[in-house]
């Protein structure tokens, strides 16, 4: 029998994980310089200078070691739990606390409920939040802890990997970015409340807790995160709208808006409208917008209505958003 101390287990795991995570995050974006030596040989030096990635590398190494140590009977999450308590009881703004609370909630989520998009969007929001120059080093540490928490939960759930997290976070940030700078009034007159300070003169809107306010007396839920609610559609797809009850909206949330839930639509017919069409009589107050293959939609009722014949649960849908009038609650959300 071979005995090995917890420290040895953790150290070995860290040594293996750190280069993997580092290389995955940088994905060839590191800086490589070649220096010519006096004896004619050359020394190649690779610099890893992205502080966010470096924090992830360090944290991932610690967590990898901690995970194995935890399997040997230690509490690998003890440090993060302390950080959570401190972070959620300090003087950060409500929005920052909300973001941290959402990030730390990943730990408690069942692995199957963690989505790649939500994890990537949350990591992106955390990364941007850390750019706030008014943060103290301790407060910045809270965001680092939250980042590690999301990262570890995402890895364990299979939603993230060391090879894809860097690209996913970058894409999420890109999807959040606006040109210009400063906070502006939205068309409906409501202020854009979910603006976090950023650097580089750009303004960035961040979805906090998977929901943002909209200016029309309603709020929008992004089942897969705001980053997955926009973007180019596959060929042949078109946006449609379905008006539903809060109970049906709950079913769409349960499958994270990735497909039309089974059993939706009386008689196996799912009625939809073109985006912006008037709300039909007899429909519920919650508006679900999503992209569906045009070929799956048959004409119904009038030129602005269509019907989709179930089952279509194997047909992926995209850019799903759920618009809920204020005062209405979606069960389970």
């Amino acid at each position: 029998m071979i005995a090995c101390s917890d420290g040895a287990i953790g150290g070995a795991a860290s040594a293996i994980v750190a280069p993997m995570v580092r290389d995955g995050l940088y994905d060839k974006s590191d800086t490589t310089t070649t220096t010519q030596n006096s004896d004619g040989s050359a020394t190649q030096t690779t610099s890893y200078e992205n502080p966010f990635y470096n924090a992830l590398v360090t944290g991932a190494s610690m967590l990898a070691g901690g995970s194995l140590a935890g399997a040997a009977g230690q509490n690998s999450m003890g440090g993060l739990t302390t950080a959570e308590n401190e972070a959620l009881n300090n003087a950060l703004s409500a929005k920052q606390k909300q973001l941290l609370a959402h990030a730390f909630s990943f730990e408690a989520q069942p692995a199957g409920s963690i989505t790649q998009s939500d994890a990537a969007n949350t990591l992106a929001a955390l990364k941007l939040a850390q750019n706030d120059p008014s943060l103290t080093s301790t407060e910045r540490g809270y965001f680092t802890s939250a980042t590690l928490s999301v990262y570890q939960a995402g890895i364990q759930a299979g939603a993230l990997s060391a090879n894809n997290v860097g690209a996913l976070v970058s894409a999420a940030i890109g999807s959040m970015a606006f040109s210009g700078g400063g906070s502006v009034q939205l068309p409906g007159g409501a202020s854009q409340s979910n603006v976090l300070p950023t650097t580089s003169g750009s303004r960035t809107s961040v979805a906090i807790g998977n929901a943002t306010n909209t200016p029309s007396g309603s709020y929008t839920i992004y089942p897969l995160g705001s980053g997955a609610s926009t973007g180019p559609l596959p060929p042949g797809y078109t946006m449609v709208t379905r008006w539903v009850s809060p109970d049906e909206a709950s079913q769409w949330l349960a499958n994270q808006g990735t497909a039309i839930p089974s059993g939706i639509g009386a008689g196996g017919r799912v009625y939809v409208t073109t985006p912006g069409a008037p709300q039909p009589g007899g429909t519920g107050p919650v508006q679900i917008n999503f992209a569906m293959p045009q070929s799956a939609i048959s004409q119904a009722g009038n030129a602005q209505w269509g019907q989709i014949f179930q089952p279509v649960t194997s047909t992926p849908i995209y850019n799903t958003t759920i618009v809920v009038p204020k005062g209405i609650t979606i069960p389970g959300h």
Binding site: W243, G265, A266, G267, R269, V270, Y271, T273, P278, Q279, P280, G281, G282, T283, G284, A300, G301, N302, W305, Q307
Partner: protein, 97 residues
């Protein structure tokens, strides 16, 4: 007999006299149906539709019942799968002329 147009695509037919009998205004009925005008009407009948599928029709039936209108006596749905080249009209049975 005076016929009005109806639709079998989750249509609804309302007996006009029932509105007065139950104290329901036409404005209230139109608001429930979320339309500015019915599909068709005469001095005996009012028709609505198409509705937004069976679920919407079920909700409309509930809403009309909630106004005090009696299902079958005062209003009834018209539902059927027919090709677009079929059109349907309905007359009030009490009209003999």
């Amino acid at each position: 007999m005076k016929f009005i147009n109806v639709t079998p695509e989750y249509g609804l037919l309302v007996r006009r006299d029932a509105l007065a009998e139950r104290g329901v205004s036409l404005e209230t009925l139109l608001a429930i149906m979320k339309v500015a005008v019915p599909l068709d009407s005469n001095d005996r009948l009012i028709s609505f539709g198409p509705s937004f599928g069976q679920e919407a029709l079920d909700e409309l039936v509930k809403a009309l019942s909630g106004l005090g209108l009696q299902y079958f006596d005062d209003f009834v749905e018209i539902v059927g799968d027919y090709p677009a080249w079929c059109s349907f009209k309905v007359a009030y049975a009490g009209d003999k002329d």
